[in-house]
């Protein structure tokens, strides 16, 4: 079993400036022992994918509260497939209506966390997903 800490990229796609959630998740995952990189605001899907590959992360966490998730999240997973980097697990959070979630999951997002999710739940999900991926490989 791999003992390296899990590496996570927390990213803000699009123009949304609400980063309270992204900053809290980044800090909380660090407190859970993960290595976390935060992109800062206003990243295009292409920039996010490039950073994820360059930083060799296990997981990308996308945060969007502007309603642009249906356009921006699937673009990230599409570019990851294009770059043959779709072993990177992508999760998302923000202001995301329930009815959008099936479409996002279909487009390759592993899970969507909506308001009220605890940081512990998110960390546990990430650990579980990374473990399952390693077992598959």
């Amino acid at each position: 079993m791999n003992n390296q800490p899990i590496r996570v990229l927390i990213a803000k796609p699009g123009l949304d400036g609400h980063d309270r959630g992204a900053l809290i998740i980044a800090q909380s995952l660090r407190d859970e022992g993960m290595e976390v990189i935060y992109t800062g605001l206003r990243q295009t899907p292409a920039q996010i994918v490039a950073t994820a590959i360059q930083e060799d992360v296990d997981v990308i966490g996308l945060s969007c509260l502007s309603g642009a998730h249906n356009e921006l999240f699937p673009e990230v997973t599409r570019l990851l497939r294009e770059e043959k980097a779709d072993d990177i697990i992508v999760i998302g959070g923000g202001i995301i209506p329930q009815e959008d979630i099936p479409f996002l999951l279909e487009s390759g997002i592993k899970s969507i966390f909506t308001p009220g999710t605890t940081t512990k739940e998110t960390a546990d999900f990430i650990r579980q997903a990374v473990r399952e991926r390693e077992e598959d490989q």
């Binding site: 699009g14 921006l72 202001i95």
Partner: protein
């Protein structure tokens, strides 16, 4: 009763209470507000004895603790101003007309993110964001549609626009002129507060120095040409939403205010020429009494700053006028109808705190933009407070309350401490560049999250009193085809306008930006030639560069 007799009686009360507490202990070890102010077991006359009459004063009198007008809402209610905008200019115009029909008394425009960050709808950076959090405005043509049929000589309009505030104000002036309304008659507000964008909201474009110039250019231009316009709305709202305490909200906002005043003075303006048009924007959060005290303390501190630090003499320069919005981050996605109750309490605190205008959030805003039904309930909440509750029938009804006066004092004290620290760093701009405010806010946001997760802070319906299998409510959907339609409109505009005139106006703007001219007339000229927001902002980007956060 003599003082010693009172003292004795108070001591006996404490003894009796201690005894009772041995059988019925208090719910918590300590009771504190968001700002960490300890709430005492009892507030009694000794808590107000220390107050001079000067500090509490009378409504309409310095330092305006009890409100800026002598009669407050006995004369006129606050302006009921619901923030709205989504999709296209045409769709938003429909919502505006609906809200005005329902008895709303002022407009408040929400722009989409590309507009707020100075990108045209067809810019690659705008992908996915067109029309999402507000209305898409690319040029004067869109603004004409947005304000169609709205009498700009009678309706006041607030626009949440910051980095490109001059451009949107120029468009508003141009539309008013077409309606036959002079710029001297129009009333409204532009947010125009770039410092809190760096701190908490994120729609900055240019670095601080040229941004401050754009702002002081607006102050100077409007003092002559648009005298009834509020040239800035110095905002604590987003600082609070990002996680700050009540004290931090006021302290950082007033520190930003000081920075704007200093920039304007440096630009050669006279304090009483621009200060009466400064306005503020605060959050109404959960801790009911702390919020009321916060508004009272904010007025008192600002009055003292303007009088003692800047030697303003016009009374209107000393009066802190503010808009309030209920706290978006207090809303829960779970059991959204509960949010109506939260909003009611927060709105009541804003009214008891003497707000000049108010936006009440809709119940479904933790999930999406509000539906028409939800927006109506939010407006009705204000109308019930105004017309049915009687709370607006006398100014500052809680003035003199032992508790409120002590809380007001303590918030004031906390605010002065922060302002002093920020002064020592060289002012708000330097504090922001060092990341001071951002770190302070993040620290509290993290603490709040931990308290919610460990259950020491209870959010009804979320970490307590949950229900399983909730039925999701009907939500507003922004038509995804809208982005393409907006891009088409933009293409048509570019084809039909006078290209040479646009080029010429942008070249003139660029030359002015490189020099020291007031930029407002040049921006107005470009807007009237139907130059787009993206074209104007890109011209300024070439000269000013872009802000890169720390």
């Amino acid at each position: 009763m003599s003082q010693s007799a009172w003292q004795e009686r108070r001591e006996k009360w404490e003894e009796k209470t201690e005894k009772q507490l041995s059988r019925f202990p208090e719910r918590k070890e300590s009771f504190v507000t968001s700002s960490g102010i300890e709430v005492k077991r009892l507030y009694a006359p000794e808590n107000v004895d220390e107050h001079t009459e000067q500090e509490i004063s009378l409504p309409g009198e310095f330092p305006y603790t009890r409100g800026i007008r002598p009669s407050m809402y006995r004369s006129r209610f606050w302006t009921m101003r619901q923030y709205a905008g989504f999709g296209s200019a045409k769709e938003t115009n429909k919502r505006f007309r609906y809200l005005l029909e329902q008895g709303q008394t002022g407009l408040s425009v929400a722009f989409d993110l590309p507009t707020q960050i100075g990108y045209d709808s067809d810019d690659p950076m705008a992908a996915g964001e067109v029309g999402k959090v507000g209305v898409a405005i690319d040029s004067l043509e869109d603004m004409e549609v947005l304000l169609d049929g709205i009498p700009l000589d009678r309706v006041s309009t607030s626009m949440t626009i910051n980095a490109p505030a001059s451009i949107l104000l120029a468009m508003y002036i141009a539309v008013a002129e077409k309606q036959g309304v002079s710029s001297k008659q129009i009333t409204g507000t532009i947010q125009n507060d770039i410092l809190k964008e760096y701190i908490a909201r994120g729609t900055y474009i240019f670095p601080p120095a040229p941004s401050m110039r754009l702002i002081t250019d607006i102050f100077a231009y409007c003092s002559e040409e648009v005298p009834k316009w509020n040239t800035i709305s110095i905002s604590g709202y987003h600082i609070r939403e990002a996680g700050s305490t009540a004290v931090q909200e006021i302290a950082f906002t007033l520190a930003d205010g000081i920075a704007y005043v200093e920039a304007a003075l440096q630009a050669g303006l006279d304090i009483d020429q621009f200060a009466p048009r400064l306005s503020f924007f605060f959050n109404a959060h959960n801790h009911f009494f702390e919020e009321i005290a916060k508004f009272r303390a904010a007025r008192r501190v600002w009055a003292k700053i303007m009088k003692e630090r800047f030697h303003a003499t016009n009374e209107r320069s000393l009066q802190l006028r503010f808009h309030t919005q209920t706290g978006g981050s207090t809303l829960t996605a779970q059991q959204p109808d509960n949010n109506i109750v939260r909003v009611t309490l927060q709105a009541l605190a804003a009214v008891l705190g003497g707000t000049q205008s108010l936006h009440t959030n809709s119940r479904d805003e933790a999930l999406a933009l509000p539906t028409e039904d939800s927006a109506r309930i939010a407006l009705r909440t204000q109308q019930i407070i105004a017309y049915e509750s009687g709370v607006a029938d006398t100014p500052d009804p809680l003035g003199g309350s032992y508790y409120i006066e002590e809380l007001t004092d303590q918030i004031e004290k906390g605010v002065w401490e922060y302002i002093q620290r920020i002064d020592e760093m060289g002012g708000a701009v330097q504090a922001i560049e060092q990341g001071f405010m951002q770190r302070e806010i993040h620290r509290v946001a993290l603490e709040t999250q931990r308290k919610i997760e460990d259950g020491s802070e209870i959010v009804v319906g979320m970490n307590r009193f949950r229900v399983e299998n909730e039925v999701p409510p009907q939500l507003l959907r922004v038509d995804p085809a809208l982005g393409e339609e907006q891009v088409k409109r933009l293409e048509q505009l570019r084809a039909k306008r006078n290209g040479a005139e646009v080029e010429e106006s942008l070249a003139r703007l660029k030359a002015a930006a490189e020099g020291t001219d007031n930029l407002m007339p040049h921006i107005l000229h470009a807007v009237k030639a139907y130059a787009t927001i993206g074209e104007i902002c890109n011209t300024l980007r070439e000269v000013f560069g872009e802000y890169r956060p720390v």
